[in-house]
């Protein structure tokens, strides 16, 4: 391939990766400042693990992400099955699509308004309820792509060979779409872990329902301490690992 093409791609990849590399670099910088190199150190990582606030926020995020992922994996898969096994009308397609494109700020304020209106208390549970909404849509979308490679006739073949509907679901449908369910779940988990603004609006006043992104936001906005670089690096590495895992499991999904 011609050199100028390679050169351009190198430029683009630099653009994409330099910011990330800077953060990783800074997390090991003793001085913590981008202006001066204070020597290699893992101090900031130590400080990070000692930070109680960050730890609790991390726990909260884990709780929210895990529960919302499980719920949305089940509901989203059922929805995908319902949509793929019988032709759907545009209305249902729209419902399954909207959560993915609606601006998160709009979703955040509408949920806050709604919860306030019905006088529901806010906390981790309200964040979970909110996250499930868009996660259902994403899980559904990913599982549906799995159905494109799915020959519907195998379900009929299963009936024809004597298996009833539930047996067919467990032995045929589920195993075939399972990689998609896992990939969708990983996507949902990642989205929930990263999600900031909806959590911010629906978490309520207490600090007991602060999630990690919320904490990161306030750290960035109101007082940057260098632990944030270490935290960022860890989060980046963690996300990359999840993506690699997802890639392994569902080879078609990344491109589609």
């Amino acid at each position: 391939m011609k050199f100028r093409y390679k050169f351009y791609l190198i430029l683009v990849f630099s653009f994409l990766y330099i910011p990330i590399c800077i953060l990783i670099f800074l997390s090991f910088n003793k001085s913590g400042m981008p202006t001066s190199w204070g020597g290699f150190s893992t101090d900031w990582y130590v400080k990070l693990f000692e930070n109680k606030k960050i730890f609790y926020a991390f726990l909260n995020t884990l709780i929210v992400a895990s529960i919302s992922t499980i719920l949305s994996a089940i509901i989203g898969t059922l929805l995908a099955m319902g949509m793929e096994l019988k032709k759907t009308n545009n209305f249902i397609e729209g419902i399954a699509f909207v959560p993915m494109i609606i601006p998160d700020i709009v979703m955040a304020i509408s949920l806050l308004s709604f919860f306030t209106l019905i006088q529901m208390t806010l906390g981790l549970h309200s964040i979970i309820l909110s996250h499930v909404v868009f996660n259902i849509a994403f899980v559904c979308a990913v599982v549906r792509t799995r159905f494109k490679y799915f020959d519907h006739r195998v379900i009929e073949a299963s009936y024809d060979l004597g298996a009833k509907k539930i047996t067919t679901f467990y032995k045929i449908t589920l195993p075939i779409i399972f990689p998609g369910v896992i990939a969708g779940s990983l996507l949902a988990f990642t989205l929930s872990v990263d999600e900031f603004i909806i959590a911010f609006f629906t978490s309520g006043a207490g600090s007991s329902s602060t999630t990690l992104p919320m904490l990161i936001y306030s750290m960035i906005r109101f007082g940057v301490t260098p632990e944030i670089n270490a935290l960022s690096t860890l989060i980046i590495l963690f996300s990359f690992m999840i993506v690699l895992l997802s890639q392994r499991l569902n080879k078609e999904s990344i491109i589609s």
């Binding site: 195998v154 009929e156 073949a157 009936y159 024809d160 004597g162 298996a163």
Partner: protein
């Protein structure tokens, strides 16, 4: 053994199957033949249970199974694109149906191994469908059905996805298996050649109805309708009229023979199959002959197809004759002969 009574089925406003009745005998190889959209596949799916008819009943050995679910019928369906379970290997695909019958594992093993032997799938047990060729996939799909020993095996265009040579082999294979197992086979196809070669009896379907039912020989030699004659084999159709008990052609040529009893019907066309026309006289008493000029000669490998312009017909007449007639060239003047027995009359 399989009785279909007055089955009708509509999809939205389209009548796919129109009041069809049929009886199929035990151990028969039966074909439903027709162009796309004639209703044959719908009928097959009604028999297998994937569609429910609007009217009518289906009986197998006198049991009414019309509204039974597919898993409660003694039928199995060989799907057109095989529908093999992609996540199971060959062995598990085949044993799947037996597992649903709650048969003991050892017995399953015996039956599966037996069928693998008979369908020539030895050595492929551990492969998954994506590791199989087209012909192998078809044998697995077949084995999967046969191992269940259904009363009726339904085949949905079983040879359509195979290449020419494999097709010819499978035609014989399927016929052989059917004989060995003594099972009733009902095959849906749009390929007349498959039906003629494999079936004991054929039902020709058009627009949801059965328009002719008979053995391959009956259907080929005595087509009862213009459509059937045109659909099966090739046929030359020549306009003709009756004049009392004579048949009169365009150029005034007449056939006078008392064997044709028109019963006061108006003749529409006369049919003559290309292979029934010869370039040599056949039976002086029973012959008709006409002259013509050769327009094209096409070499078909196993015979010659000669297109002739004649006076007795507006359209050119096609003749199929031995390839050893080496002397025929374009623009030759020839004489064509046909026996009166080969003439079909369509009213």
């Amino acid at each position: 053994m399989l009785r279909i009574n007055n089955i009708s089925k509509s999809f939205e406003k389209i009548l796919a199957v129109d009041n069809v009745s049929l009886e199929i005998n035990n151990g028969e190889f039966f074909a439903l033949l027709g162009p796309s959209g004639c209703g044959k596949t719908t009928l097959l799916r009604i028999i297998s249970g994937f569609e429910k008819p609007d009217n009518g009943q289906i009986y197998i050995s006198d049991n009414d199974i019309t509204f039974n679910e597919p898993f409660h019928r003694p039928t199995n369906l060989l799907f057109q694109n095989y529908a093999l379970f992609p996540h199971l290997n060959v062995y598990k695909n085949i044993s799947y149906g037996l597992e649903q019958e709650k048969i003991h594992t050892n017995k399953i093993k015996l039956r599966v191994e037996e069928i693998i032997e008979r369908t020539d799938l030895n050595g492929l047990e551990n492969r998954t469908p994506d590791q199989l060729s087209g012909g192998q996939k078809q044998r697995v799909a077949l084995a999967r059905c046969l191992v269940k020993k259904p009363k009726v095996l339904l085949l949905d265009e079983p040879l359509s996805a195979l290449d020419k040579n494999l097709k010819e082999l499978m035609k014989i294979e399927l016929k052989k298996l059917q004989n060995e197992f003594g099972m009733t086979f009902i095959m849906v196809t749009h390929d007349q050649d498959e039906a003629l070669v494999m079936a004991d009896r054929i039902a020709i379907m058009k627009d949801g109805k059965i328009i002719q039912l008979g053995t391959p020989k009956e259907i080929y030699d005595q087509p009862t309708s213009f459509f059937t004659a045109n659909f099966i084999g090739q046929m030359n159709f020549i306009n003709a009229k009756n004049n009392k008990n004579k048949i009169v052609f365009k150029n005034g040529f007449e056939i006078i023979n008392s064997k044709f009893n028109h019963n006061q019907r108006e003749i529409d066309k006369v049919g003559l199959r290309p292979e029934d026309i010869s370039l040599k006289p056949m039976d002086i008493n029973n012959d008709i002959s006409f002259k013509g000029i050769v327009k094209y000669v096409a070499y078909h490998g196993k015979d010659l197809e000669v297109t002739v312009k004649t006076d007795i017909s507006e359209e050119n007449i096609v003749i199929r004759t031995s390839k050893f007639e080496e002397n025929i060239k374009q623009n030759d003047e020839i004489t064509c002969y046909a026996s009166l027995n080969s003439i079909r009359i369509f009213y």
